[in-house]
């Protein structure tokens, strides 16, 4: 197996608070990796450091063999890391299809003049983006809504659209931040199946933050547990479920 993402001693401090403390992650190609922990454990902050949103105070991030910490989000995205957001961040005024097409923008090979002069390359690029976006909407079960403005989507669909948009960037690694939050049991089951298909059919490695234990234990093969920024356990779902420190963290945290 080849290593896709490796962080060493990844640390970030906000003033006096050490939100993430020496986090070591190691994700292989094709993993479906779970990152869990109580509220405020630092999971989202790890994502922010991976994707270049926050600059780590310390430590390194290697992605696909390249050192990426401190790079800006645009460059990280180019390297093939994409994500969704815990507090959904769609482009509300664009249509569902256009939201997904925006993900495909970074691989466009045309320049502004092509579009202003409407060259063949422009039309070819539009077709490419539309096809790709439409396929991904189909994959996520959103094709009927393609023409709607994103702000008109119900909550569960908004989360799916974020995933479709992230997939449109052709990522090697997809980071999902609580994709099932606010969904009911039926929707969660569908989502779990979709996440598995993303990995199996689209061959995209997945890093998943999720509070729903059933979902995480059901689909992840490896799990890492954070508490107060520190890793307290790593292993298979079975190992995690029987780890006394994890049980303590979750029961103690209420």
């Amino acid at each position: 197996m080849t290593k896709l993402l490796e962080t060493k001693l990844l640390t970030i401090r906000f003033g006096g608070l050490c939100a993430v403390d020496c986090c070591d992650l190691c994700i292989d190609q094709g993993d479906l990796y779970g990152l869990i922990g109580p509220n405020g454990a630092g999971k989202t902050t790890v994502f922010n450091m991976l994707t270049g949103v926050y600059l780590p105070s310390d430590g390194t991030v290697h992605f696909d063999g390249k050192l990426v910490n401190g790079r800006n989000p645009v460059k990280v995205a180019r390297l093939g890391m994409s994500r969704t957001f815990q507090n959904i961040r769609l482009f509300d005024e664009l249509s569902v299809l256009e939201n997904a097409m925006t993900g495909a923008h970074q691989h466009s090979r045309i320049n502004l003049l092509d579009s202003l002069l409407r060259t063949k390359r422009h039309y070819r690029e539009e077709d490419r983006q539309r096809d790709k976006a439409y396929r991904l909407l189909e994959f996520m079960g959103l094709e009927d809504r393609a023409g709607l403005p994103a702000k008109a989507l119900p909550y569960g669909h908004r989360r799916r659209l974020e995933i479709a948009r992230a997939l449109a960037t052709d990522p090697k690694l997809l980071c999902l931040d609580e994709p099932a939050a606010g969904m009911n049991t039926g929707e969660k089951a569908e989502l779990a199946a979709l996440i598995r298909r993303i990995r199996d059919e689209l061959k995209v490695t997945v890093l998943l933050i999720e509070h729903d234990m059933k979902l995480v234990m059901g689909i992840c093969e490896k799990i890492q547990v954070l508490e107060y920024g520190k890793t307290i356990a790593k292993g298979t779902p079975v190992e995690i479920q029987s780890d006394p420190r994890v049980i303590e963290a979750y029961l103690g945290g209420g």
């Binding site: 994409s82 925006t102 923008h105 970074q106 579009s115 960037t169």
Partner: protein
Amino acid sequence: MPRTLALLLAGVVACYGLNWFLSEFIEVVYVDYVNLIGLAIILAVGLNVVNGLTGQFSIGHAGFMAVGAFVGAMASILFTYGEIAAGPLAFAGLGSFLFCLLLSGLAAGALGVLVGAPALRLRGDYLAIATLGFGEITRILLTAQDSLGGPTGLKRIPKMPLLPGTETWDGGTSVFWIYLFVFLVVGLAVRLQRSTFGRAMIAIRENELAAETMGVPSARLKVVAFVFGAFFAGIAGALYAHYQHSVRPDDFTSVRSIEVIVMLVLGGLGSVTGAIAGAVVVTLLPQLLRPLEEAMGIDGLSMVVYALLLIVMMVFRPQGIFGQRELSLKLLRGLIPGRRGGKTP
């Protein structure tokens, strides 16, 4: 591409026709309004790319216009007369005129890079204030340039070049030239908006962080937007200078920048048709209120009413005339009562 050329040709013909029609049948005062509206549209549609698409907030548009006006006017004077000197007005040559316009656009566009790049560090109101400051600095520096005439500016700027068959038109070819660039800026703005770059710009406006995480190069696109707006503002400035035959730095105070913003917001920020509607309304409204002012015998009343209307409009319809939608036939049909289009149960 062939379509683009055909469109361009159609645009040229249409502008020629418009100019002929106006000079043949319409009084000169009204033709003046038409020209002023055209200039306003160029400014507003250009700025809409910055403020409406990428969601930055620039109130320095007059600065770009000023640079374009002075560069274009100076170049044109030198080409036509060879020196700054008193004398009767002459026509600019076709080639040199186009070259001067291009030069103004490029100068203003280069300034757009200069302003747009540091502006990347700023957000929202801070960006707005910084661009305002830039516009004022530009104007003040122009005032201090004795070679450009100082506070009194440049005079005897040549007339816009004649075209075949236009020699007898009173009022000249200004309508043709101004509306040619209206046509260009509108066409290019619409094409930009409906392309992957336009969508990426809107994505930046809607949620910059998400756009960046999706690989949208927001810094570059924001500068591109600035350059687009600045380029056409520069051209509008040069056209304005040739149209008035004189320019002063004080033609380009922050009041003018704010006027363009008002056009955008009135029409509905982010919509090209909105920007056009805003340009028409803001240019015409004070003129339309003139008769009221004369009837009441109160000097300055039209501007008071104009300001009042602006406030009332904002309080009751803060999203502007069109919101972010484009004016289209479908939208018009939706406005007709009893025929709410589209939705079948």
